[in-house]
């Protein structure tokens, strides 16, 4: 009878310990989520579309999540964008034109075989990879709504010999 009561007490205190630890982990994850989504996050980017700026095999870069929320993304910024073709994929491209800027497209993609010139619509940006031969970008899928921009790449942290601002 006494040993049963002791066991119950031990159970309760163990459960309480576990709950406390779980709460600490939950708080840490909350803070991580806030930092990742609203401040700054490290990201692995890879692929040939941003050569020579970014390597093909993979670079770790820091992306800041502040500029795009305050509307501070401008021409020349390298940004993380959700692909309009596949919502589960994030792509890295450079902003080449903002809303209201004229753009000229030569053939290919959704424009057919004609060279066209038009203005980037309101609320959109025109993104292109630095490597125009190996890049699926706005020349293929058109101007991208500003709301798809998820961050601005500003610093490369890996590989170490290429550490520096972008």
């Amino acid at each position: 009878m006494l040993s049963q009561k002791l066991k119950l007490q031990q159970w309760c205190s163990t459960a309480k310990n576990v709950a406390d630890r779980a709460l600490i982990v939950a708080k840490f994850l909350c803070v991580l989520h806030i930092a990742d989504n609203y401040l700054c996050a490290p990201t692995l980017v890879h692929g040939p579309s941003m050569l020579p700026t970014l390597n093909m095999r993979g670079d770790v870069v820091l992306t800041e999540r502040v500029s795009h929320r305050i509307g501070n993304v401008g021409v020349g910024d390298v940004v993380l964008v959700v692909s309009p073709e596949n919502p589960r994929k994030m792509i890295t491209k450079r902003v080449v034109a903002r809303e209201g800027d004229p753009v000229s497209v030569v053939g290919d993609g959704i424009w057919g075989d004609v060279s066209r010139s038009f203005v980037v619509p309101k609320g959109h940006v025109w993104v292109q990879g630095d490597n125009p031969y190996q890049s699926r970008d706005s020349r293929i899928f058109g101007p991208v709504p500003y709301g798809l921009i998820k961050g601005r790449v500003f610093l490369r942290v890996w590989p170490l010999d290429e550490f520096g601002l972008l």
Partner: protein, 165 residues
């Protein structure tokens, strides 16, 4: 000799820190819930009459089905406007990628002026229930799936309309 001023200040500062940590924790937790689980939103405007009244309603928005990709035709969704990234609009999801959408270019004009568009890959077609007063995909085209902000599933206010949507 009682506690010095310095000690009083110290204990006051500590209490203030504890209280503000509690507030910060609460907001962190609230933000994570709002991002991954559900969110409350206020919707207003004429574009979703008669579903939503002109004066504004408070609804609950589900974020889970968005992440699981379980949004289907007929759902009311919150969308970040492709014309103005600071604005979130409420529309009904009418078509998904691959659907052929046929719509009247101007519903006010009697006539056969219709247009047919195929919804591209990764995009959805949204329309307001009130076709006469709604800027939606008929105006700005199909919207990339990633601009969706959640699925409206419950109306909280006004109370006489409390219930599922």
């Amino acid at each position: 000799m009682g506690p010095s001023n310095f000690q009083l200040w110290g204990s006051f500062a500590k209490e203030a820190m504890d209280a503000s940590m509690l507030v910060v924790n609460f907001f962190c937790f609230l933000q994570v819930t709002r991002t991954y689980i559900f969110n409350a939103a206020s919707v207003s405007g004429p574009s979703m009459l008669p579903t939503f009244s002109l004066s504004g309603e408070i609804v609950l928005v589900d974020r889970i089905s968005l992440r699981l990709g379980k949004i289907s035709r007929g759902d009311i969704v919150l969308v970040r406007s492709p014309e103005n990234p600071r604005k979130v609009i409420t529309k009904r999801l009418i078509g998904i990628e691959g659907d052929r959408m046929t719509f009247a270019v101007d519903p006010r004009r009697v006539g056969d002026d219709r247009k047919t568009v195929t919804v591209p890959k990764g995009h959805v077609w949204v329309q307001g229930d009130n076709v006469y007063e709604s800027r939606d995909s008929r105006t700005f085209g199909a919207v990339p799936y990633a601009l969706l902000q959640g699925r409206v599933f419950w109306r909280v206010w006004p109370l006489e309309d409390f219930g599922a949507l």
